[in-house]
């Protein structure tokens, strides 16, 4: 690794956001977010609707360009940077390179409805990594097998339950072998009886050591997997802590929110 890669002062760091601001028109959604994610860490983010959780993940994945602030990922710098900040700059990366290595799972699954589960998972292998069809499909099928859907590889998304669709979506991200996986309320669009199968896959993934950032209100999962737990409100990180946050929140706002959802 180069000196630049070690610049944030922590060799284990995978992703670091600094001073992220994002507005939509006059709506100032992210108001200075700083967040560091270490190798193998599981970061859980929760907070009220509209507090900017989805926007934060989309910005970290550069699906939205931040108005200011920097996204540091795996030795490279993305985003417009911090006004007035000097010092040596790490090499700048292309958003597409970052997205290839950052998996994203959406609340609404966002599977491609016009192709099969297998093709959903194989698509990026073929078009981004340039794999031949046979190898891409074999690889994709093995990932679908790992999320328990080997028997559904030929199904179209509309023929799958919500839980199955979300598991395909997870396989679609995992097949790119990302360095970090981000989940945006992956179970909140699911019928209650389907939540478990998706959380099961996420638990196994967490145990395997995958670095994860998870926006969720599934407090069972959060207590169990959350190494770093973040309460967000109105575009800022109000409180950040270990598992004790769920029993002894420091901030009254955090406590009020937890009381309301538990």
């Amino acid at each position: 690794m180069t000196a630049a890669a070690a610049a944030p002062g922590n060799g284990d760091l995978v992703l670091r956001l600094r001073g992220i601001h994002k507005s939509f028109g006059t709506n100032h959604v992210l108001r200075g977010i700083d967040l560091s994610v270490g190798q193998g860490q599981h970061v859980v983010i929760f907070g009220p609707s509209g507090s900017g959780k989805s926007t934060l993940l989309r910005t970290a994945n550069l699906l939205e360009q931040p108005d200011s602030g920097s996204v540091w990922f795996d030795g490279k710098e993305y985003g417009p940077g911090i006004p007035g900040a000097g010092g040596e700059d790490p090499p700048r990366g292309k958003p597409r390179d970052l997205r290839q290595q950052v998996g994203m799972v959406f609340q609404q699954f966002n599977l491609f409805p016009h192709i099969t589960a297998l093709e959903n998972v194989a698509l990026a292998l073929r078009r981004v990594k340039g794999a031949k069809r046979a190898e891409a499909e074999l690889e994709a099928a093995s990932y679908l097998d790992q999320v328990g859907l080997l028997d559904k590889i030929g199904a179209y998304p509309s023929q799958l339950s919500g839980g199955q669709q979300q598991r395909v979506a997870i396989a679609r991200s995992l097949v790119m072998e990302p360095k970090i996986m981000m989940f945006d309320e992956p179970t909140s669009a699911l019928d209650p009886e389907l939540v478990g199968e998706v959380l099961g896959v996420m638990r196994t993934l967490a145990e395997s050591g995958m670095t994860m950032v998870v926006v969720t209100h599934e407090m069972g999962f959060a207590r169990e997997a959350g190494d770093v737990n973040i309460f967000m409100d109105e575009g800022v990180i109000v409180e950040q802590g270990g598992r004790e946050i769920y029993s002894h929140a420091r901030e009254p706002r955090t406590q009020a929110f937890l009381d309301a959802i538990l």
């Binding site: 989309r58 994945n61 699906l63 597409r96 997205r99 290839q100 290595q101 950052v102 998996g103 994203m104 959406f106 609404q108 966002n110 599977l111 491609f112 409805p113 016009h114 297998l118 698509l123 990026a124 078009r127 981004v128 499909e137 074999l138 690889e139 099928a141 093995s142 990932y143 097998d145 790992q146 999320v147 080997l150 028997d151 590889i153 030929g154 179209y156 509309s158 023929q159 979506a169 997870i170 679609r172 991200s173 995992l174 097949v175 790119m176 072998e177 896959v201 196994t204 993934l205 395997s208 995958m210």
Partner: protein, 264 residues
């Protein structure tokens, strides 16, 4: 003489059969002009749709003006203007057929552009985001994910436009293109068998447009996102694909050596 005698005779349907080569020749040009204009209009329409959605403060409005302008001119007026007003007046070396195709293409690109744009915008943005999130580029996301879905959405209105094209192609008869209406017009005026000739013309247009209607229905069903299994398992292509999937399933479930990957 003969023409007068013919005109006085009663309804003679066999007259049409005797002149079938004339109708066949006309239908051929009607189809050529419709198809060529439609394909060109679809390609141009896609470009129009994409430019119309451009975030640039200049390109979007210019293309919007193009769309509104060409949708506002009556096609007949436009045909006459392009052929007589421009081509003949300024001695351009373009044939009537070329002028007709040009006119139809331009006008239909405006209509199709708007149809394609609404189809593209009907695909949820989450689809594009998901494609980008697995590392696909913008163009790949558009052509592999957004466009195939938009295409399914626009099949019915696009089919209607093609039916409209077949009907509108009759307007180029005025600049002398020997398509179905032109040959009918000439034949009727020469023989005075107006009823038989125009009756046949109506029927032929009806057959063409109805044929296209059922073709569009078929395409719509073939590519529908629901009932895919029913409509897709019949083709040999689908059977080969199903066989490939079975082999994949067997190779992985048979306890054989699975390829590497995190054990999830």
């Amino acid at each position: 003489m003969t023409a007068m005698a013919l005109a006085q005779a009663v309804f003679r349907p066999e007259f049409i059969w005797d002149n079938r080569h004339i109708f066949v020749g006309g239908v051929k040009w009607t189809l050529v002009i419709s198809l060529v204009s439609f394909v060109l209009a679809a390609v141009l329409g896609l470009v129009v749709a994409l430019l119309r959605m451009s975030p640039s403060p200049i390109i979007g409005p210019i293309v919007a003006a193009y769309i509104n302008l060409f949708r506002a001119i009556p096609l007949l007026v436009f045909v006459l203007f392009v052929y007589y007003g421009i081509a003949i007046q300024f001695n351009l070396t373009i044939t009537a057929i070329q002028a007709g195709i040009l006119t139809l293409t331009v006008q239909y690109s405006a209509w199709l552009g708007e149809i394609f744009r609404s189809g593209i915008q009907a695909v949820p943005d989450g689809q594009r985001q998901a494609a980008l999130s697995v590392g696909m580029g913008r163009a790949q996301a558009f052509f592999r994910v957004t466009l195939p879905q938009a295409a399914r959405i626009v099949i019915p209105p696009t089919g209607n436009m093609f039916i409209g094209m077949i009907k509108d192609s009759s307007l180029v008869y005025l600049i002398g293109v020997e398509e179905l209406l032109r040959v009918s017009y000439v034949l009727a005026n020469r023989t005075f068998r107006y009823f038989e000739v125009y009756m046949a013309t109506v029927l032929v247009y009806l057959i063409l447009t109805t044929g296209v209607y059922f073709l569009v229905k078929y395409i719509e069903r073939r590519f529908a996102l629901v009932d895919l299994l029913v409509s897709k398992t019949r083709s040999p292509f689908a059977r080969r694909k199903a066989a490939r999937l079975r082999r994949l399933q067997e190779s992985l479930s048979g306890g054989g050596s699975a390829p590497s990957g995190p054990s999830v």
